[in-house]
């Protein structure tokens, strides 16, 4: 079961968010706040690394009720999904979402980079991908 998906641009602004499970709806401002909180936690986590050399930020958070998996692209865009604690293959799903993003958002001539994603085809393909993985 996948509960929600967030996409943050390289400055930490929320550019896409959608809930899939039976989760409690929050206000738009709360989603934006959650997105930027995650961006800063991600940055601090890479700062606290006990090993020299650069560390990535948070890749996985485990809790009692959910699991959060994050994938950061080389261009700094962060995709993260919140799913059931024992959901397998979250990394592959995130790579699949990235592929959809490059195909249906970046190649969309009307999409302005770093801005809110409002592309119907992307929404459609995304819901199909997530349906496929939950079935």
């Amino acid at each position: 079961m996948i509960y929600s998906l967030y996409i943050l641009n390289k400055a930490g602004t929320l550019i896409y968010q959608n809930d899939y499970g039976p989760t409690e709806k929050l206000s738009h401002n709360s989603y934006i706040r959650l997105g930027s909180t995650f961006h800063s936690l991600h940055a601090i986590a890479s700062n606290l690394s006990p090993v020299s050399g650069s560390s990535s930020g948070i890749e996985l958070i485990e809790t009692d009720t959910f699991k959060l998996q994050c994938f950061q692209t080389h261009t700094g865009i962060k995709f993260y999904i919140i799913a059931d604690p024992n959901h397998p293959g979250l990394e592959e799903i995130l790579h699949g979402i990235y592929e959809l993003y490059t195909d249906y958002v970046l190649k969309n001539p009307f999409y302005e980079i770093e801005m809110q994603i409002r592309c119907d085809l992307f929404d459609y393909k995304l819901s199909r991908l997530l349906k496929l993985t939950t079935d």
Binding site: G21, L34, V51, E59, D64, T65
Partner: protein, 138 residues
Amino acid sequence: MIYNIYIFNKDGLCVYYEEWNKRKQSVNLAEDQKLLFGMLYSLKAFISTSSPKPIDPKTGFHCFKTSTYKLHYYETLSCIKFIILTDPNTPDLREDLKKIYSSIFVEYVVKNPIYQLKSTIKFYAFVNPIKPNFKQKT
């Protein structure tokens, strides 16, 4: 491989800190400890708002992972926080943290009559048993 361990009291003071295989010298240790405490504070708030189901903020959070380390977290009901940083492939260490709390911290710190609450821990009776506990895992 275990890198370091932190114990925070409920006011956010790092009462105990030890490092074993840390490969990076920190410029300012006290500053790092404060940063970690502050980060966990917001991380817990983040978790309780993004959780799809109601979650207990004290015991709900288990660990997080980056490409170079994994942070294990255990918090007691009295808000004492036990944190361990290890390499990313280590299995869950929360049971070990619980053991440190129940069999070492309670025995040698809480029951110690000269221990002043809210001060750092420097007793050999506490420090010595922790080391073999983790030596076998490193």
